[in-house]
Symmetry: C2
Subunit: 192 residues, 2 copies
């Protein structure tokens, strides 16, 4: 998506070959209009899919996922990274390893909000190794629900996340795909 690639080049910065800093518009400060445009682009890609709900993971996934849910007029469920004292009913859980933070967390969703047979679009800010997406898919499978597709804002295409997800048959749509990067250099893969 052209506007996103331009924002990454203008406001983002590659710290090194692995870490892309986009907290000017995506995961600390947020540009709400860019979020709206990205959501519209995601929904155009998945327009032939039936989607009952949007799912994402706190915290950085919430903003883009909310804009998708708002435009499609369906609920959003955000999965949590730790159990809360408020979440006292039965839970779906899955252990997820974060390579960025080099630690594990327990991805958690209440059984009240994911139901058998529901068709879910997973939206997240980053796809790298695919651990978070695979954790979310694990929870969706526990609920006997279905994944309609996987929408990603920024894909690090030099890491294996996309490959792991497409190997399982999922439709992965990423708004920006980074082929490679290094300090002050970012190269995109063009979507067909």
């Amino acid at each position: 998506m052209k506007q996103l690639e331009e924002a990454i080049l203008k406001y983002g910065s590659a710290i090194n070959e692995q870490v892309l800093k986009v907290d000017t518009f995506l995961n600390h400060q947020i540009d709400p209009n860019l979020m709206y445009l990205m959501a519209a682009d995601i929904l155009e890609h998945f327009k032939d899919k039936k989607i009952d709900k949007i799912i994402t993971i706190e915290a950085s996934g919430i903003a883009p996922a909310l804009m998708v849910a708002y435009q499609l007029n369906v609920p959003l469920v955000f999965f949590k990274k730790a159990t809360s004292s408020i979440l006292n009913e039965e839970l779906y859980q899955c252990q997820v390893h974060s390579f960025t933070k080099n630690k594990d967390y327990t991805l958690t969703a209440s059984k009240n909000y994911i139901h058998e047979g529901e068709k879910l679009l997973f939206v997240d800010d980053f796809l790298a190794n695919g651990e978070a997406a695979l954790g979310a898919i694990n929870i969706v499978k526990q609920a006997n629900a279905e994944i309609s597709g996987i929408a990603i804002i920024i894909e690090k295409s030099f890491q294996p996340g996309r490959e792991r997800l497409t190997a399982e048959g999922y439709d992965v749509y990423s708004l920006a795909r980074i082929k490679q990067m290094a300090a002050n250099h970012i190269e995109f893969i063009k979507n067909e």
Copy 2:
């Protein structure tokens, strides 16, 4: 706000005199249309204030705050509850005690996104003891920025948060104000 009070009565549940569960539409599953309407109501209240940016705290504050930022067409900055390896520049920080979770966290914001003289509207999902709001205000003061107002989705009016904030001169606008509650009983204070 009528639609919110109706949603609290229909979908929320008071676990006891302190804990209100609203994860059906506010802080686990999200109703995006209700978020949109709540944001419009907040902006109507603050329509005479100059607002340069919206600020909130991850994770549950992001959805309502994003809708406010989207409608006002200004950036949103969400403060973080822990430092990330990505946030490597200079930071504003403030220790905050969460009574809900009975633990402390370090509220954190990059110095890049809050600037001297900026007028900021703080939006959050809950106001109880006011610890989170006071932490956010502390960071805003560190930056020599200003608080235009404080917008809250649900205020537990039987706890001292509002009083602590209004005592410092802040305009606190809460969409629903809970006078008291108990298992299966919720009573509101009507806004004039």
